[in-house]
Amino acid sequence: MTIGDLGIVRGVVIDADGRVEVTLTPTYSGCPATEVIRADVLAALSAAGFDDVHVLTVLAPAWTTDWITDAGRRKLADNGIVPPSPAPPARRVDVALSLTLPSRDDEVRCPRCATADTVLVSQFGATACQAMYRCRRCFEPFDRIKPY
C-alpha cells in the first residue's frame, strides 16, 4: 500500500533545476500520520538523490476515500480491511437528518468468509479513517475504511 494508492499524493513536480515539489493532502483533519508521511517523503526523496525537496500540504480540495485507487482497494482487501463504498455528498442541506448515515445501508462483506451478514460495531476504529465491524457468521471482528 502506498500513499499514492491512498490518494494522499496530489502532485509531484520536478523543475529544470531539479527542485522537487510534492503536494500532499491529509486524510482526516487530525490524522497523526500526516507528519510522519511528510517526513518519510522527504527522507525517501533524499535517499533517491534529490536535495532540493519541498513538501506542501493542502487542505482543499478535501481528501475523499473516492481517491483510493483500484489497486489500493485490492491491497486493502488483501490485508483484511474492507474498502469504502462511494463517499456521501459533503453538503446535505436539503436532506432531512436521519438516524442513518448513507454508509449504514452499505453491504459490507466479511473479509474472511465473504458473508454480508455483518454488523457495524462502531463508526470509530483503530485509526480515524476506520470503522469496526463484526461478522455474524464467523464471528471475526474486522475493520473497514469508512466512506469520507
Binding site: 482526516y28 487542505l59 482543499a60 453538503r91 437528518l97 438516524l99 448515515l101 462502531s122 470509530f124
Partner: protein, 258 residues
C-alpha cells in the same frame, strides 16, 4: 489573501478563526478526558477519535489565526499561552463531561451546530476556511451520527438512562443559545461571504434537535435563562480548571518538543 497586504478585514478574520478554533480545541480537550474512562472500549475509541478530528480542525484554524495576526505567534502559543479571558469559545464546549449522558447531550447540541455551520462555510470566499469546512463537514457528520444514536438509545432506553439523558439535556440547554449569537465580527465577514452568520443556523438546528429529542422520547426543555459571553472571553467557572490542565505541561517546559 496574499501576504504583505494590509487587509482591513484582518482583525475580524483573526477573531473568527480564533472563535471556530477555540470551540474545536476546548471540546477536543474535554473529550480527551474520557480516554481510558469511557463506559466501554468502543466508546473510549469513539470519543477520543472525535477529539482527534476536532484537534486537527483546531490546529488548522489556530495556525491560520496566528498567520493573520502576524505577531510571530504560532498555533501552540495560541493554545497554550493565552489566559482564560483571551479564549473565545462558547460556554457549551467547556462544560464538564458529567456522566456519559451529559457528554452525549453536549455532543448532540454541538455536532448538529457544527455540521450545519461547516455545510455553509464550504462556500466561504476564504480559501482556508472553506478548506477546513470541506474536511470538517465529513467528520462532523460522523460525530452527529454518533451523538444521535446514543441520544435515542439512552432516551428511549431504561428508566434510569432516560432520566439521566433528560437531566443532561435540561442541564446543557441554557448553553445552546450562545451558539447562534452573531456580533460585528460574524456580520461584517458574512457580508463579504467569508463567515457564516450563525443566527441563520438557528431555525434549522432547532428543528433537527426537536426531531432528535422526539425520537428519543425526551422533552424539549422550557428553560428561560441562557448563558452568553464566551466570545468576549467571559467564561464559566469550570473553564479555568480545564485550561490549567491543558496548559500545565507546556508552561512547565516552555519550548519543549518531541
Amino acid at each position: 489573501m496574499s501576504e504583505g497586504t494590509v487587509d482591513p478585514m484582518a482583525p475580524a478574520l483573526f477573531s473568527y478563526a480564533l472563535r471556530l478554533g477555540d470551540d474545536a480545541l476546548i471540546l477536543s480537550q474535554r473529550l480527551s478526558e474520557w480516554a481510558s474512562r469511557a463506559p466501554e472500549i468502543e466508546e473510549d475509541i469513539a470519543l477520543t477519535n472525535i477529539a482527534l478530528d476536532l484537534l486537527g480542525q483546531a490546529r488548522a484554524l489556530l495556525d491560520y489565526a496566528a498567520v493573520i495576526e502576524g505577531h510571530q505567534r504560532d498555533e501552540d502559543d495560541l493554545a497554550y499561552l493565552r489566559t482564560e479571558r483571551d479564549f473565545c469559545n462558547v460556554h457549551l464546549v467547556e462544560q464538564e463531561n458529567g456522566d456519559f449522558a451529559h457528554t452525549i447531550a453536549r455532543q448532540l447540541f454541538f455536532s448538529t451546530y457544527q455540521l450545519f455551520l461547516y455545510e455553509e462555510l464550504i462556500s466561504s470566499t476564504d480559501e482556508l476556511l472553506a478548506g477546513v469546512a470541506a474536511k470538517g463537514v465529513k467528520e462532523a457528520a460522523y460525530h452527529h451520527d454518533h451523538a444521535l444514536q446514543w441520544t435515542v438509545r439512552l432516551g428511549d432506553g431504561t428508566e434510569d438512562s432516560r432520566r439521566r439523558m433528560q437531566a443532561a439535556v435540561d442541564r446543557l440547554w441554557p448553553f445552546t443559545a450562545e451558539l447562534f449569537d452573531a456580533d460585528e465580527v460574524e456580520k461584517e465577514l458574512a457580508v463579504h461571504g467569508i463567515a457564516v452568520d450563525p443566527s441563520n443556523l438557528r431555525a434549522r438546528w432547532e428543528r433537527a434537535i426537536h426531531d432528535a429529542l422526539a425520537s428519543a422520547t425526551l422533552t424539549v426543555p422550557s428553560t428561560l435563562w441562557t448563558s452568553h459571553g464566551g466570545r468576549r472571553g467571559v467564561h464559566t467557572e469550570c473553564f479555568g480548571y480545564l485550561l490549567a490542565e491543558m496548559q500545565y505541561l507546556h508552561r512547565l517546559h516552555p519550548g519543549a518538543s518531541w
